[in-house]
Symmetry: C2
Subunit: 435 residues, 2 copies
């Protein structure tokens, strides 16, 4: 054997240990259940695609972050960097097999060779859900309700879904006569939460007149209530429109569903340079707002324009699993390490292994998660193994129990044993102890 | 807007449409449930790794199939081509955080630039489960039981787990005096199921004497019962040993658990050139044996030797999801397109949208999957949408129902309506209709 190879992972990539992976899978399961509860259907797409498909024919700011290479056949290929572009391609490719409105979810890993400072990863999981093929406030609302339900189901209270509408913002910039600077203005406004009012004002003053900068800052400032904010936005944008009417409708539906307090009209939400055209939103956790948005999205008027002439309006959201996990960890909601099994059958004597396997099977058939310690060792290491896996119950079946035809059930949390049980009794007691 | 980009996917890669993706996710869920039922814990590893880590310092036959490239930082990286090598690296990297025996499962996509003829994919999903850190027949047995339970839970009857033991095979080759040809002999034996006895014999005759070739063919031929097969194997291998004793133990446990008929001792199973050293197995479906093995694996004596001096024996299995899905499709077990929602609230009047959202929410709170049709269109297209998603129940709430404060529940399968219901009554009737 030669030198050992160092078992390292690439910078920005991670191994996930069992306790955390179990927690991650539970979160994914919860989000998936919310998606199916709203009638959304799953799809899948390849992680590797033609570069042209993912990046278009030009090249943008993202390109440097993309894992792009030449495959065996000399094809220019790349790893996907989000789930939106593959979804757009998918809709164009399968329009004849699909139906509209198409409500889909897609959970998958994406790849970005970003700077790994400040806890960014180069491989991370996104959970996207979109409703495509219809431009209606009801579709917007369903996405917002899904976001709300996901956080509720995850046991997170104090969720703030902060929303706005790009259409009102654009009308306001028109009205102010600064529409041609909109890209830079959006970029500055987007920094408000990070750099504060004064610095944002400085940035804006370098783009427009001092008076206009003040006006922009006024526009993006929420008032005391959603109604007042909306009135101020309409006022500064030159009056009401379809856009502000839609926002009003959405907020009134939220009220009528008893969820009004979770939805905050916040005109500083613009989703920066993204391709949104209608409502836009970000989600903050009141307990740790500093972690930033854990779920965001908005309405776009043309998903798949790169690939098809069919105009596909839609609305969607994306949950970044990794930031959400970080948030839950910080809130101490990931601590409760769940058990890897309900029952462990300890090995006291190799010659009784057939019995151990049978007992474990009986527990499984009764709906328990059960495992057998697969070799005869001292009880100390076996107990310590059970503890590492947070297993609450053990079965002890040695020479003595075997000769009497009984089992001993041990509550590993309380360190108490119940001897002299038949298998049926052990199953019954286990049910009591675990439920 | 310039020319459209063709929304194509790479050869050997696939989009998955919703019905099939839903079925795939159900299968994965079932396999995962089996893993957790046996106390196995989940892990995750990156899809992209250092090439050296995945390929070792030399280069083997697989290398040409590996997606390997240079990343932004000039690192030589590759997409994983299986889950075993990353698992070996993981065990070496985290030995201090983990405990032994370590029972883990890992489901993930792997990448091989293989020839795409005969329905092979370049991106495919593997479901691996292994028990590492112990060399005992009980650990072997648990993996075999998991395989059996997975297929039972998937509703597949007539599963044949065909197993053998590499140790007995090696002893037999020693005894026959042809051990130095073992690589070529294994390769020939491995082809038996594909090319038949005569051609296998021809291949063997080119490697060893005619008499020896006959002896090898005799060795790999199952007899009328497992006991007779084992006796013949022991006889040809020069007598009983720990290896054949272990096989005997495993088969007797299978009998005592009432599963004996699913386990067939088949000495032609060798897993070819793989790194196995103990028991080896493949799984065939009696209804479609021609699809080949849908789950295979075995025992190895040193998982992570490339990365650590710690000797890690283990036993594991791998289910290829794609071949399994193909098998289930062929058996017609994937046809039953499951519903994407239980209830759809049709949109009869945009001004009643607040009511529709409320009704859907009430259904969700009662445990139904419910969606709202998000805009006012004729009922025809709305019904056809519901049909495409296999949704069994609809709610009709128009002007008339609204003025009376009632709902109409429609059984979309039977095309029957139940008018004049309160929300509570509709929930109760829906429960009856769906359960």
């Amino acid at each position: 054997m030669g030198d050992l190879i160092q078992p390292r992972v690439l910078k920005g990539f991670r191994d996930v240990l069992p306790d955390q992976e179990a927690a991650r899978r539970k979160i994914l399961e919860t989000i998936e259940e919310v998606c199916t509860t709203f009638g959304f259907v799953p799809i899948d797409t390849p992680a590797l695609e033609y570069s042209e498909v993912l990046l278009g024919k030009g090249g943008g700011e993202t390109d440097k972050q993309v894992y792009q290479f030449s495959d065996h056949g000399g094809r220019d290929v790349a790893l996907r960097f989000d789930l939106t572009v593959p979804f757009a391609r998918y809709m164009a490719a399968h329009s004849r097999e699909l139906y509209l409105p198409f409500k889909r979810y897609h959970f998958g890993k994406v790849y970005r060779g970003e700077n790994t400072q400040k806890g960014r990863y180069r491989e991370f999981m996104q959970c996207d859900f979109d409703c495509v093929g219809v431009d209606s406030p009801a579709a917007d609302m369903e996405i917002l309700l899904m976001m709300h339900r996901a956080f509720t189901q995850l046991g997170i209270r104090g969720v703030e879904i902060r929303l706005s509408h790009r259409g009102i913002f654009n009308r306001f910039l028109d009205h102010l006569g600064v529409r041609e600077n909109s890209v830079e203005i959006l970029r500055s406004v987007d920094k408000l939460k990070k750099i504060g009012r004064e610095k944002t004002l400085d940035l804006l003053r370098s783009l427009v007149s001092a008076e206009q900068a003040e006006s922009i800052l006024s526009f993006i400032t929420p008032r005391d209530s959603n109604a007042e904010t909306l009135a101020a936005m309409e006022d500064l944008a030159g009056g009401p429109g379809e856009d502000s009417g839609r926002v009003s409708t959405i907020l009134s539906w939220a009220d009528s569903l008893g969820l009004g307090s979770s939805f905050i009209l916040d005109p500083s939400i613009t989703r920066g340079l993204d391709y949104y055209t209608g409502i836009v939103y970000e989600t903050f956790l009141q307990e740790i707002p500093e972690i930033g948005s854990v779920c965001s999205g908005g309405r776009y008027n043309n998903l798949a324009g790169l690939y098809t002439k069919e105009q596909l309006p839609g609305v969607g959201s994306s949950i970044g699993l990794d930031r959400l996990v970080a948030a839950l960890e910080e809130l101490g909601r990931l601590e409760d390490q769940s058990s890897a099994a309900d029952v462990i059958v300890f090995c006291m004597d190799d010659s009784l292994m057939a019995q151990y396997l049978g007992v474990a099977q009986a527990f499984r058939d009764a709906g328990f998660r059960a495992e057998v310690y697969p070799e005869n060792r001292k009880l100390g290491p076996q107990f310590s193994y059970a503890e590492k896996k947070h297993i609450p119950l053990g079965i002890i079946l040695g020479e003595e129990e075997h000769s009497r035809g009984t089992l001993q059930l041990r509550d590993l949390r309380q360190r108490q044993s119940i001897p002299g049980l038949s298998l049926e009794e052990a199953l019954a007691r286990a049910t009591e102890l675990i439920s």
